[in-house]
């Protein structure tokens, strides 16, 4: 390291990509003590951060971190000093809790379940009694009890929704869509029903089971299950389209996706109507990813790559070439 005044780009690249060894990172961090090198590094860091819509590193508040750390250290000290006396106390408490739970459990089974029902007119998130969530697309219906019973978590559903189910091995989560039962333990997945045509389940994490009257398929992460109303058949495909449920995840990943197709995804996720003028090269590939970005933001970015601009009027968006004014 004879020349400490200059930032090593190859080391910086390696560092950004998460491929640097601890010693290399130490070397890099030490070199940042020089203000000029630090300025250069900050510039590179800004470029790197801006080059994708996700995986952004946020600055951390060291004071808060220190408080958290101090609290953890104190707790550790406390734990080692647990005396026999406290152990008996603890045992007594546990017995007490078990008794209470048993009584409540008995009680809850005798209660009449009240049914909750919702119809969505806009994209909205519903929290279920077990703190699972359902992001519901427009014109979808959900109903579930005010409290789930002791054995299962039963939900009836119509339309399209993205479910993130809280894990509970002992209490399966069951969604009924017409003739189909969707059973999970704890996962996230998208359900889409087109009445009298199909019911589709795309799995993002974990495993989901789809049951028809006489058949069952098990759908893993990255797969989709499809029920066909006419043939009453269940099928499994080894792919998912994560941009098809962006209305819920607010995440888009375009990898050489034709501009026209990208716009179709935006139409679906934001419930708008996009008209592309013939002057726009709509087959050009777009490569970019977005997370929690507004429609306007995404349009600005993708339009700039095909040298186009857009006009938004309520739900209608018109895209045309920059030069065709």
């Amino acid at each position: 390291m004879s020349n400490k005044k200059e930032l090593s780009i190859s080391l910086t690249a390696k560092y950004f990509s998460g491929s640097a060894t601890p010693d290399e990172v130490m070397e890099l961090h030490e070199s940042l003590n020089d203000p000029e090198v630090k300025a250069e590094f900050d510039k590179m860091s800004k470029l790197w951060q801006a080059s994708a819509g996700n995986n952004i590193h946020n600055d951390i508040n060291t004071d808060e971190a220190w408080q958290e750390f101090s609290a953890k250290i104190k707790m550790k000290k406390g734990k080692t000093g647990l005396k026999a006396y406290y152990k008996y106390m603890l045992a007594a408490c546990v017995v007490g809790i078990i008794l209470t739970v048993a009584i409540l459990y008995k009680f809850s089974n005798q209660q009449v379940e009240k049914q909750q029902q919702y119809t969505s007119t806009t994209i909205s998130t519903r929290r279920l009694p077990d703190s699972s969530t359902a992001v519901m697309n427009v014109n979808s219906n959900i109903s579930f009890p005010e409290r789930f019973n002791a054995v299962t978590r039963e939900v009836a559903f119509e339309g399209e929704g993205f479910f993130d189910v809280t894990p509970d091995k002992h209490k399966p989560f069951e969604i009924t869509v017409d003739d189909i039962k969707i059973k999970v333990v704890g996962t996230s997945f998208n359900v889409r029903q087109i009445k009298q045509q199909l019911i589709e389940v795309q799995v993002v994490t974990g495993i989901v089971e789809m049951h028809s009257a006489d058949k069952m398929i098990s759908i893993s992460k990255g797969q989709r299950g499809i029920y066909d109303y006419s043939g009453k058949s269940l099928g499994l495909e080894n792919n998912t389209d994560i941009n098809s449920f962006s209305y819920a995840t607010k995440q888009f990943i375009f990898n050489d996706t034709p501009f026209r197709t990208a716009c179709k995804y935006l139409e679906k996720a934001f419930h708008v109507n996009i008209k592309i003028d013939d002057s726009v090269s709509s087959e050009s590939g777009i490569t970019s990813s977005f997370k929690n970005k507004s429609l306007e933001y995404i349009l600005d970015v993708i339009c700039s790559t095909v040298n186009a601009e857009y006009i938004k009027h309520n739900d209608i968006i018109i895209i045309k070439n920059n030069n065709s004014k």
């Binding site: 996230s188 490569t287 929690n292």
Partner: protein, 176 residues
């Protein structure tokens, strides 16, 4: 609480957090990892000389804990599915970022083919050098060369960065 340990914590916490983030690509996860590493260091403070060996010890600890976290598939899944709704930007930050992102998207497309492919695999797919080398059937050294080149070229394209941001700001002010 020993003052020297506190000083050490303040000196390194944010750096280590940035480091862990380059590997796990998740801010909350990175924070937990660095906390964990400091607790390990705290427990061994009688055996380790902070001034001489503390830094090396904690950088290694963060590295190993980060790799473990990535290997743990559940973490990855959680990372993919995590839906963070809060995203508040000041107007200035928003404009800066949008302007940059738009220009960068075309800047990246203009990189030489191999270079671009390596860069995208790293930035968009979060792959590490070894994984990229494996996926493309090239050596790790070649990956390193491409990444360095990509970063250098982007840097040159954006040497006028400060000017762009300034211009963006002026145009906003004019619109108001």
């Amino acid at each position: 609480m020993e003052q020297s340990f506190k000083d050490f914590f303040y000196q390194y916490f944010d750096k280590l957090h940035a480091y862990a983030h380059t590997i796990v690509l998740d801010n909350a996860e990175a924070k937990d990892i660095v906390q964990h590493a400091f607790i390990k260091l705290w427990e061994r403070r009688s055996a380790i000389n902070l001034q001489n060996d503390g830094a090396r010890y904690i950088y290694r600890a963060v590295y190993n804990l980060s790799l473990n976290a990535v290997r743990n598939k559940a973490t990855r899944d959680k990372h993919n599915a995590s839906l963070t709704a809060s995203n508040v930007y000041s107007i200035r930050h928003y404009v800066e970022e949008k302007e940059l992102a738009a220009r960068l998207t075309s800047g990246i497309e203009n990189l030489p083919e191999k270079c671009r492919e390596v860069f995208k695999k790293s930035r968009y797919d979060g792959l590490k050098y070894a994984e990229i080398a494996n996926a493309m059937g090239i050596s790790i050294k070649t990956v390193e060369v491409h990444m360095t080149k990509a970063l250098k070229m982007l840097k040159e394209q954006f040497s006028d960065l400060a000017i762009i941001l300034f211009a963006a700001l002026i145009s906003i002010i004019n619109k108001i």
